[in-house]
């Protein structure tokens, strides 16, 4: 036990001896947290649109007005020529073209139906889908509205209607920040933890100090424990710090039990830190270790379900994702903080992390060789 304490002490000294380290570990992530939470939204507030309306009839103008009146749309420019509107889109100035054909109202009156075209810049598929949904709803609304206005009296009352009430639970204002604060906090803690541990042993190898440790009577398990504990303390502290900032600054809800969060976090951090140490034991230079850590980090982050939905991934990828510790922990954070989930609700994720932690720590201890 005393041996472990000395190694822990040595690691702390080593980390904090470098004056630049403290701000990098604590200040930079918190600043990022504050800034980045605002970034992650698909919320479409300013759909820039171009209107092609050679018809200029009452109907077409009414439709355009309907779009102009919506807070989601900004009509950037009017034109009679479709080519001109496409050129605008080509230059990235508009996201949506409402293309109304000439003779629109005439066709509508004669054939009882006419087509209005939405042309959407679909490079970003998610935004394009949303723009399409919003625009279609506005158009259908307009249809119904004109129908009601035209046949005031007998026929309208026979129109069948479904009144749909939409509600958003746990977050009625769709404030994406309350969702992003826990998520981004987990990412930051993960990045710091993985980098600190991933560079650690390999650094001693590169500088040569590992030999000095190898000739001491320290056993493998003590060595790995001594390396894990300092980073574990730093990461837990960082998480607590970030949560307080989130509470104070963004007023994120904490519906569930905080102890549940920290219990899961402590297991999760063992997974991440032991993973880092494992990378550290199998690489020869810090450059290699950094590259491998980066590779896994990007894969973990993009497949964590934070930015894109896991359910939309193909089945084999969802199965593969069961190996992604970040996925479990982000779910736990989200469920406990925002929905007040209890231990029973999160237990399947929790036990998965426990098994994972056990496996990875054992692997790291086994893989560390006391030879050069």
């Amino acid at each position: 036990m005393r041996t472990i304490r000395y190694i822990v002490q040595k690691e702390f000294l080593q980390v904090f001896r470098d004056k630049a380290m403290l701000p990098i570990i604590f200040l930079v992530p918190i600043v990022q947290l504050i800034i980045l939470v605002n970034a992650a939204t698909f919320d479409m507030k300013h759909i820039r649109m171009s209107v092609v309306d050679p018809d200029l009839s009452a109907t077409s103008r009414g439709l355009v007005q309907k779009f102009g009146g919506s807070p989601f749309y900004q009509i950037k420019h009017f034109t009679f020529s479709y080519q001109e509107a496409v050129a605008q889109m080509q230059q990235g100035k508009v996201d949506l073209i409402l293309n109304i054909p000439a003779g629109f109202e005439k066709t509508l009156m004669k054939e009882n139906q006419a087509t209005a075209q939405f042309v959407i810049n679909a490079i970003n598929g998610a935004s394009a889908g949303l723009i399409n949904a919003y625009s279609t709803i506005i158009l259908l609304d307009y249809n119904r509205q004109t129908a009601l206005a035209n046949n005031s009296g007998s026929t309208t009352s026979s129109l069948r209607n479904i009144l749909t009430e939409y509600s958003y639970w746990y977050n009625p204002e769709l404030n994406y920040k309350t969702y992003m604060v826990p998520g981004i906090l987990v990412l930051l803690v993960t990045i710091i933890g993985l980098l600190l541990s991933g560079m650690n042993i390999v650094r001693e190898k590169e500088i040569g100090t590992i030999e000095q440790i190898n000739v001491t009577p320290v056993v493998k398990i003590q060595f790995i424990a001594g390396k894990l504990i300092p980073f574990w303390i730093i990461s837990i502290f960082e998480l607590a710090f970030g949560l307080s900032i989130g509470k104070l600054l963004f007023n994120i809800p904490i519906e569930g039990n905080l102890w549940l969060i920290f219990l899961s976090a402590s297991v999760y951090l063992f997974v991440i830190l032991a993973f880092g140490l494992l990378i550290s034991t199998i690489t020869h230079t810090q450059q290699q270790s950094m590259l491998i850590s980066f590779f896994f980090m990007v894969v973990f982050i993009l497949m964590s379900g934070l930015f894109t939905s896991i359910e939309s991934m193909p089945q084999w990828a969802q199965t593969l994702d069961k190996l992604n510790p970040l996925m479990y922990f982000i779910r736990i954070m989200r469920m406990v903080l925002l929905k007040g989930s209890t231990f029973a609700d999160i237990s399947r994720y929790f036990w998965a992390l426990v098994i994972y932690a056990f496996f990875i720590v054992t692997l790291a201890i086994w893989r560390y060789r006391k030879v050069a």
Binding site: K45, Q90, L108, Q117, T136, I162, L163, P314
Partner: protein, 367 residues
């Protein structure tokens, strides 16, 4: 010049000797592109939902069928009472609940109006918003279809998706992945390569050699220009052959812009290495400070235009944002230099800025 040549050759030896790093360096972009190309879509489909339908009549069944056959939703659970919604949400198995009122069809027939409730699990607000919009669209369409004889004039919406008809996610990931990987390889690898010499003490040897400091720096970064460029080409070829991402614009312009971006990232790497003393610090600075902003503030996943204005201001100082704009513009929209000269100039400006700053900071003497 001959000395310089020898130095560059030495640097190449350094890199090629370490075959593991090389393997990761070339394997990583390939594996990640394949993985993300197949896996990640921004589109939401197969979302799990719960339905509570106490009336079980023709209308509610038709609506449920329409919702479930849209491809966006999978029925996870039929609820027996309203109280079960809370459990389902808390357990995290469904993202949306649809609740019909009792005697739905009867009420619609009699009073003309029936009530439907759609509840989204907004602990993930982006997904909830998209799902609710999908449902809303489906209901609107259904209403139109049952009322079609009674609404005399109808405007039919027709949608055309430009540049990416099938809404493939890989169209976004190719530019994003290029921006991220090139940044990493160039900025990080160079900053590590230079600080490594400092840390191991071999920098002193180089500095007392007859080589000029500028030559040392150029010699050290030169191999990485080469490696990063090969990576860019690997990504482009894979994207084009495997995922059929088109290159509508000029290929040479695309490569030229990639080269410019690589130079920008390299000068950032040199700057980082001049202000840090150990590899660990250099890496922490580059990864911690660059990684998430490159993903989030560059328009890689989340569109810049939707962000609050103060954040957009931050985006304007992120070089990857300009590179991603350029790549999308050239590859997917087929634009030429005339449309991207603005962004190109800004990237050039960044490069010069980083270079001048590093020359000012560069110390010939070590500590």
């Amino acid at each position: 010049m001959k000395r310089f040549g020898a130095f560059v050759v030495k640097e190449f030896y350094h890199i090629f000797r370490d075959y593991r790093t090389l393997l990761i360096l070339f394997g990583m972009p390939a594996v990640q592109l394949m993985l993300f190309g197949y896996v990640i879509t921004n589109e939401i489909k197969d979302a799990r939902i719960a339905i509570y339908d106490p009336s079980k009549d023709v209308v509610t069944r038709t609506i449920s069928d329409k919702i479930l056959s849209s491809g966006y939703f999978i029925l996870e659970r039929n609820l027996n009472n309203v109280a079960e919604i809370e459990d389902a949400f808390r357990y995290g198995e469904v993202g949306l609940a649809i609740i019909f009122e009792p005697e739905f069809a009867k009420k619609m027939e009699k009073t003309g109006t029936a009530h439907l409730q759609v509840i989204g699990d907004a602990s993930d607000p982006n997904t909830a918003n998209i799902l609710v919009n999908y449902v809303s669209g489906i209901i609107s369409n259904y209403l139109i279809s049952i009322n079609s004889e009674k609404i005399p004039h109808q405007i039919i919406p027709e949608t055309r998706m430009m540049y990416n008809g099938e809404l493939k996610g890989v169209y976004m990931f190719v530019p994003g992945l290029m921006a991220m990987l090139l940044m990493l390889i160039s900025a990080l690898m160079t900053s590590l390569a230079i600080t490594r010499e400092k840390e191991l003490g071999t920098m002193e040897l180089l500095l007392v050699s007859p080589l000029q400091p500028v030559q040392i720096i150029i010699g050290k970064v030169f191999p990485y220009v080469f490696l990063a460029f090969i990576d860019a080409i690997i990504i482009l070829i894979l994207a084009n052959t495997v995922f059929h991402v088109p290159v509508l614009g000029s290929v040479s312009l695309l490569l030229g812009e990639s080269f410019l971006y690589i130079c920008m990232a390299l000068s950032l790497g040199i700057l980082i290495s001049t202000i840090t003393s150990s590899q660990q610090i250099a890496m922490m600075v580059s990864l911690v400070a660059l990684m998430l902003p490159t993903i989030l503030l560059s328009g890689f996943i989340f569109p810049v235009e939707n962000m609050p204005w103060i954040l957009q201001a931050f985006c304007y100082v992120m070089p990857p944002k300009y590179f991603i704009t350029i790549i999308k513009s050239i590859m997917l929209q087929g634009n030429g230099l005339a449309n991207v000269w603005h962004e190109t100039l800004i990237l050039l400006g960044f490069t010069l800025f980083f270079l001048i700053l590093s020359i000012k900071k560069f110390n010939i003497r070590l500590a």
